[in-house]
Amino acid sequence: MEQFLGYLIPGLMLGTVYTVIALGFITIYRTTQVLNMAQGEFFLLGAYAVFFTVSQLGLPIWLGLFLAFALLALLGASTERLALRPLVGQPVFAIILMTLGLAVFLKGVMVLIWADSILPMPSLFGIGGIKVLSITVPTQYVWFAVISLVISITLVYFFNRTKIGLMMTAAADDIQVAQSCGVSVNKITAAAWMIAAVITGIGGFLLCSITGVYQEMGALGLRSLAVVLAAGMESLGGAMIMGPVVGAIEMLAAGYLDPYVGGGIRDIIAFVVLIIFLLFRPQGLFGWKIIERV
């Protein structure tokens, strides 16, 4: 039991990172029907941008954070404008490949500037332990989980209660009706990309302030696709539930299965979850619509 909780609780806490990345995926997918495969790179860029402004430029941390996320919002908007808008009306294959191309390009940029080593990040939270259900967890994890949850709840509030958020939801539901009601789809799309880039970047900064920032962290982007699919492609609340669940599954699988399969199961268990969901419940647990089957 002790051991089980020892895997479960950190898993649930670190799983909130999947929620944050998945929220980025969902924000973009809801408004534009684009699944942005470069989320992992946005995630990593969030961490590198903060490293750049705070550690390399030496700005005070709050100014550095502001500047870093402003840069990220700019990146999100320009990505949409330069790369995705020319592809409106193209088949889904072209859009997938475009975002994959973007992911590869951004990875190249990051390798070029920051090379392939672990860089220390400015730490926000003190080091220490906190007792949760008889398990001692690092305080950082708790802070991380709390901030991720706050971001998620803010985003759900934003989508359901504010005007821009409701416009986005309207565009997600039916783009033509939304347009005829006076929603500017161009602005909404740009806003969605900016929001997604910033949220994902914040997630990246938070997690990397615990672990240090290195290129392999970008792999989390594709792994959080499992959360997006399990939640359903449009459900923000679903992502909040499924993120920690997938995180816990990963930790438990790593804890109990690794001795039998020779390690590294953590890297692929999310894809197993993804395939199982796509096969048996492709609309996810909380998705809006039934996916077209053949």
């Binding site: 699944l35 790369a83 020319p86 592809l87 193209q90 889904v92 294959f93 072209a94 997938i96 490949l97 475009m98 994959l100 191309g101 973007l102 992911a103 590869v104 390009f105 951004l106 990875k107 190249g108 940029v109 390798v111 070029l112 500037i113 090379a115 392939d116 594709l222 696709l225 699919l229 399969v261 020779g262 390690g263 590294g264 199961i265 890297d267 692929i268 894809f271 197993v272 993804l274 395939i275 796509l278 096969l279 492709p282 996916i291 077209e292 089957r293 053949v294």
Partner: protein, 350 residues
């Protein structure tokens, strides 16, 4: 399709002919002759590039059947190539069988594992199938890496060159001809599958699966078949590749390599046999230039000298994919058709 001036089809066989006129036959024969003569006049280095191109043409034609003709996005192409390579490795190293016995099995095993994903494609399509095959890429490579007793784990399996009697395919020149023969046969097969009943059924499934089903195409059977045939050819490419580099190891077959394959398809032109060849030549030439250019740029700008070697291929791949999708979404094959047409209509073409 515009024929050269003064050429008319009187018989069905003329209408079906891929190569129609005498000048075209002469050009084709000269081209094949050039391919045969090439290794005797070129350097080892150029021959290596040519071999790589031919092996990639085989693998990319496989992907072209699944993704280009049948429209099922397969993002795990390099993993299927790895299955072909490791099947060869296991059969020759662990079981001591001949490479020639392993040859069909490399294709069959990859094809049968591809069929599993073909079955997945009954339930989901488009974006969702792409996600499943991304998952497949990671899961297949994980199994190959961790099944130590069979695949040799991180180090992989060392593969000896195949031989017929006492003649061994150890030299680059013999490898060149082996790849050339396989490549020509595969291109011939794919070109003819594409215009047969099966190929037309694939295209019908791609363009509108409901309509295809209504006119009597068995959609499920053809989806499965497209995965089988596509992965079969990719597995064959895996057989060639592991013999060429002499080792079956997991390093080479990552997600990035699968993205390169999709890039080849987009740059060359989806669902075009000629396009895939053009795409492979373009992409491999670009890779070679990138490898040569890396140190030069690194020397010129010392600040990025250490990382440019790793970063440049990524930057180039990303940029090429983005630019191709925006400016040339129908690929080089389409551009080639335009050039051909304006040449034939000259002086009346723009």
């Amino acid at each position: 399709m515009i024929k050269p001036s003064g050429v008319f089809n009187y018989r069905y066989s003329q209408d079906m002919a891929v190569i129609r006129t005498k000048p075209q036959w002469i050009t084709f024969a000269l081209f094949l002759l050039a391919l045969v003569v090439f290794p005797f006049v070129s350097s080892q280095y150029a021959m290596g590039i040519a071999i790589t191109m031919m092996i990639y043409i085989v693998a990319a034609q496989g992907l072209n059947i699944t993704t280009g003709f049948a429209g099922l996005i397969n993002m795990a192409n390099s993993a299927f190539m790895a299955i072909g390579a490791f099947t060869t490795g296991i059969m020759t190293v662990k079981f001591g069988l001949s490479h020639w016995i392993a040859f069909p099995f490399a294709g069959l095993v990859a094809g049968l594992i591809g069929v599993i994903f073909g079955v997945f494609s009954f339930r989901v399509k488009g974006l969702y199938l792409a996600l499943i095959t991304i998952g497949a890429q990671f899961i297949i490579m994980y199994i190959l890496l961790h099944w130590n007793s069979m695949t040799g784990g991180v180090t992989g399996l060392n593969i000896t060159p195949p031989h017929i009697g006492s003649f061994s395919f150890a030299s680059t020149i013999s490898m060149y001809f082996l790849s050339l023969i396989v490549c020509v046969i595969v291109v011939y097969l794919v070109r003819n599958i594409a215009r047969s009943k099966v190929g037309r059924a694939f295209i019908a499934v791609r363009d509108n699966d409901v309509a295809a089903e209504v006119i009597g195409v068995n959609v499920k059977a053809y989806k499965t078949l497209s995965f089988f045939v596509g992965c079969f050819f990719t597995g064959i490419a895996g057989w060639l590749w592991c013999i060429y580099v002499g080792v079956a190891s997991v390093d080479h077959y990552n997600l990035l390599e699968s993205i390169w394959f999709l890039a080849i398809l987009v740059i060359g032109g989806m669902g075009s046999v000629l396009g895939v060849i053009l795409g492979v030549v373009f992409v491999e030439a670009l890779k070679t230039v990138t490898v040569l250019l890396g140190p030069i740029v690194g020397d010129a700008i010392p600040a990025i000298g250490e990382t440019i070697g790793t970063a440049l291929p990524l930057l180039v791949l990303g940029l090429v994919v983005i630019l191709a999708l925006i400016y040339e979404p129908r690929g080089l094959a389409h551009r080639w058709e335009i050039i051909k047409r304006s040449y034939r209509l000259w002086p009346y073409s723009r």
